[in-house]
Symmetry: none
Subunit: 385 residues, 2 copies
């Protein structure tokens, strides 16, 4: 059970964090029956993005297995990627008659206009490859280049500031030269199509590309752990990450109640479930302390419908902290608890940052969670004789 961004910081008036402020009898009861601790998703002082935060929880060294920006954007709109596909993030932008960028986001055009423009860009034809353009939100889109022998080792065209022209995309290694030509050809054709009177949106007359990347070659959870894993996540990016590591995607509905129902329905069909709860992170990023507290209470209220399944091993943690006072992801360690018949309980009786400090796991790297889970499920052999 991943409660996204669950870790927090004290409210300046009460001195209590979001977790310490919430009414959460179920989380606290689990804590009293668990071995508790605090995880570092990436490392001391490092603020994790959602991808490295989740990869670490799933047992992958988040430094070794990095997921590029283009891939993240593609996962975020539920695009199914094929091996070898190159993905990049695109911005619709505005340039003047000399090609100088005047607005990197083309006035944040509507998602509907974005979809129209993507239709236009899907007319682009480049010999030997297929290019697929999909809208994300406002000015953001994803480009997929599909074909043989492509490489993501490319520079960005986005200079990251106005007053400059878009940069030529360059190959960072000889094997990426053809892909660089293809990417530049895409940009050139895009400029032609967008700049023509026909598109009726003269403001968004150019594209800026960045984060060319390929799906990382990552061993899957079934391969590594011989598990049959499934994900119950509502938001596309988390579903995408789950698929990346070999999880089957199950229906998740629209809220935690739906997710718990799905868990019940499929409980006999899989032996590992990843349930993702998003709004703790969203309310933290909003800077809304009270709303984050309520989101925690919403999870807590849904837990009886998980506990009645009596899982062999139950883990509750987060992929990173998102303190409402900071209104952003942060580097702070994240409360963690694992309950199983074979865990060694400690004296922790509440699920919070301060309480978990006294937990049996202490502070430890999130990447170690999976081996702890496996051992508590009695699925690991003894090491050595």
């Amino acid at each position: 059970m991943v409660i996204d961004g669950v870790g927090g910081l004290p409210h300046p008036e009460t001195g209590k964090t979001e977790l310490e402020s919430a009414e959460k009898p179920n989380l606290d009861r689990i804590a009293s029956e668990s071995v508790c601790g605090l995880i570092d998703p990436v490392g001391t002082g490092i603020t994790p993005g959602s991808a490295p935060g989740h990869l670490a929880i799933f047992g992958y060294d988040p430094i070794k297995y990095s997921v590029g920006r283009g891939i993240i954007e593609a996962l975020g709109i539920d695009l199914e990627l094929k091996p070898g596909d190159i993905a990049a993030r695109g911005n619709f932008c505005t340039i003047d008659k000399n090609g100088i960028i005047t607005d990197r986001r083309a006035g944040r055009i509507s998602t509907e206009k974005n979809a129209e423009l993507c239709q236009l860009l899907n007319r682009i034809a480049i010999a030997g490859v297929e290019t697929i353009v999909m809208p994300v939100k406002e000015h953001r889109f994803v480009l997929i280049i599909r074909g043989e022998g492509l490489s993501p080792e490319l520079t960005d065209s986005d200079p990251q500031q106005v007053g400059l022209a878009a940069k030529e995309i360059e190959a960072l290694s000889p094997r990426a030269r053809r892909t660089a030509e293809i990417a530049n050809e895409f940009v050139s054709q895009a400029r032609g199509l967008l700049g023509s009177a026909g598109n009726n949106i003269p403001s968004a007359n150019m594209v800026l590309m960045r984060g060319f990347s390929r799906r990382p070659d990552i061993p899957t959870i079934p391969e590594i752990y011989k598990l049959k894993p499934a994900a119950i996540a509502i938001y596309p990016m988390y579903r995408g990450l789950a698929r990346l590591v070999g999880m089957k995607l199950l229906p998740a509905g629209v809220n935690i109640t739906d997710q718990m129902e799905s868990l019940h329905r499929y409980y006999g069909d899989y032996d590992f479930f990843f349930v993702h709860f998003k709004s703790t992170d969203s309310r933290g990023e909003d800077g809304n302390f009270e709303a984050k507290v309520h989101a925690i209470e919403e999870v807590d209220a849904a837990l009886p419908n998980l506990l009645n399944l009596n899982p062999d091993v139950l883990i509750v943690t987060g992929d990173h902290s998102t303190p409402a006072t900071l209104a952003a992801h942060s580097w702070h360690p994240v409360p963690f608890m694992l309950r199983s018949r074979w865990c060694r309980p400690d004296n922790v009786a509440a699920f919070s940052e301060r309480a978990c400090l006294a937990g049996g796991m202490g502070r430890f790297p999130a990447v170690e969670i999976m081996s702890l889970a496996m051992s508590n499920a009695l699925k690991l052999d003894k090491f050595g004789a």
Copy 2:
């Protein structure tokens, strides 16, 4: 704020460590507003010298970035080294007429006699290089060999015991052959000069050389962290280490009061300050428990004049422990605290070994301090999307 050797061990009568015995209201108040913990400067069970202890605090892996004995001695007398300089530590010693060492320290001659003998050795001339001999203390001196194409890959001449002759200095790699010849020529000329009647100190009639080393090629703090760092340290070795990592050296006066005044004077000109307090370590090495307690109280009394600057991030720790009962550096973890608007306070309300055990950082490697400091200063980007 580095309180050198601050960690200790319990007094056999009171059962309290030096920190637990001191009256230190300011340190304790900072602890109650901080995230606390215990650092391992090098690793479990490893007693750090001052150089690795400080390098770790400054963010350098002390195993990877080792600073040779010769360089340490040179830094310790404030010698400014040029790139390529080879430094070695020398002992004045006594040999009999067969060249057998009878006293490795020549009766611990006075520092004044040492200076006279160094004058004598500065007459040595070797083609193609410059040799510089500088007194340290009692029988110890530093030799600098300055020139092109030198290598520090040399064996010691010091056999580390009496009853043997000084060893020939040997090259450990082919590229060090010429430097080995130069070093042996230095020893040969030194023996000639010291052995002649003219020096009037027949007891110190030979030199023993060890720790040939070169200034490590170390990326600086401005390069790594884009900081503008300054050091306020009284003792030469710490100033030398600070300069090695790219810190500007500021006036430090003669005591902690002077140091705090310097901090105030230059506070607007830099964004990182290293303040070094020495006498906790010195009194620990003396084995003087009470004096070390008083040294801690001296730091504590100076702290209000630091706190009134209200730094964004304040870190107080030590480079290693120096328990007075052991009268030496030790391997014990060192209390640590970091105060910032964005730290997550724990329940620790005192700055001591036992209290910090319950801290939010737990026990952690000192080399991680800098990333924690940078994140608390909101100077780091998120890792991954």
